[in-house]
């Protein structure tokens, strides 16, 4: 347990990246692509792709200001493409993991440049002029990961009965 602000956020963010990794481990591409909570189109692979997008949106686009690279899983114009356009092939799974890990590596490199003193710094996050602090972006990322881990808990239990991952 760390007591500092940034270190606390990093601990929880790393924890949830690990949770998602364990929830997706030891399954076939078919199982990862299973829509286990129909009528929802949610699947573990969809969540992994979504979280790669989330990392890109917040770390690359909002915090690093990189807006000229193509957004992940946004080729078809479907706003839920990362969930809906899944076929369940090995290549698709490998691609999702590679994209997610690439975003995490870049995110962690940015986190290394930060300190408790930068957490109150503000950034514009929307065209309406509202601002967010770096602190609230990181807390938001933790709660977004946690909520999706909650979805993944129930999906995984339906796929092979595993709980407590």
């Amino acid at each position: 347990m760390h007591t500092g602000e940034l270190a606390t956020y990093r601990d929880y963010l790393d924890h949830y990246r690990g949770v998602i990794e364990r929830q997706c481990a030891d399954l076939t591409p078919d199982q990862l692509a299973t829509r286990a909570a129909q009528p929802s189109t949610l699947s573990l692979l969809g969540l992994l792709r979504h979280l790669a997008m989330v990392e890109q949106t917040w770390f690359a686009r909002a915090l690093l200001g990189i807006t000229d690279e193509p957004r992940l899983f946004r080729e078809s114009g479907d706003p839920d493409e990362e969930f809906n356009a899944i076929t369940g092939t090995r290549d698709e799974v490998d691609e999702a993991f590679a994209a997610w890990r690439e975003q995490i590596t870049r995110a962690d490199a940015w986190l290394e440049t930060q300190s408790d003193a930068t957490m109150a710094e503000e950034l514009a996050f929307n065209r309406d002029g509202r601002v967010a602090t770096k602190r609230e972006v990181l807390i938001h990322l933790i709660e977004e990961y946690a909520r999706h881990a909650g979805h993944a808990d129930l999906l995984r239990e339906r796929i092979d009965g595993r709980i407590g991952l």
Binding site: T133, I139, H140, A146, R147, H148, G150
Partner: protein
């Protein structure tokens, strides 16, 4: 159904205020997920084989609020945990009656009221203050508050799918 709320910026940018904004937001999400359902629906294990239910989540989170605010932050580790006799931590099957539902929500409200009074007594300068959990492990006020946000968020992930299975809301 929207599975994740859109990002909403906290109106107050202070550190403690930001934690309170998110904690409060997650309490309201759970409340919304439970709204308008019958006692039977609230108690239903609607995502089998999981034994989770929305009512079980409400009971569990009352216990979570009690433990972290009263026992850890306010340092009353000598007191028994809420539902100390329940090995399932609040998820034990409960008779789905209007009375059991009312009792679960009133206990949750009571713990939230206690938590809010506790939070009113804290300032940003208290966040690194050391605390011990019931296992004797070192923690601090900040770590407890961030933990509460992520624990609520994960359970709200459960609540999202439990509710969707009940009425595709």
């Amino acid at each position: 159904m929207t599975l994740t709320g859109r990002f909403e910026p906290s109106p107050d940018k202070g550190e403690l205020a930001t934690y309170r904004f998110y904690l409060d937001g997650h309490r309201r999400i759970l409340e919304t997920r439970c709204a308008g359902l019958t006692p039977e629906q609230l108690a239903e294990h609607s995502m089998p084989p999981s034994e989770l239910s929305l009512l079980g989540l409400v009971r569990h989170l009352a216990r979570v609020e009690h433990y972290w605010f009263r026992m850890v932050i306010d340092e009353h580790l000598d007191q028994p945990r809420l539902d100390d006799d329940d090995p399932t931590g609040g998820f034990r099957s409960i008779a789905p009656t209007p009375e059991s539902v009312a009792e679960a929500f009133s206990r949750w409200d009571e713990q939230i009221a206690y938590a809010e009074a506790c939070l009113d007594g804290l300032a940003d300068t208290d966040l690194a203050a050391p605390r011990r959990d019931r296992h004797g492990e070192a923690t601090c006020v900040r770590d407890v508050l961030v933990h509460l946000v992520e624990e609520y968020a994960r359970h709200n992930g459960h609540a999202d799918l439990l509710r969707e299975a009940l009425d595709a809301r």
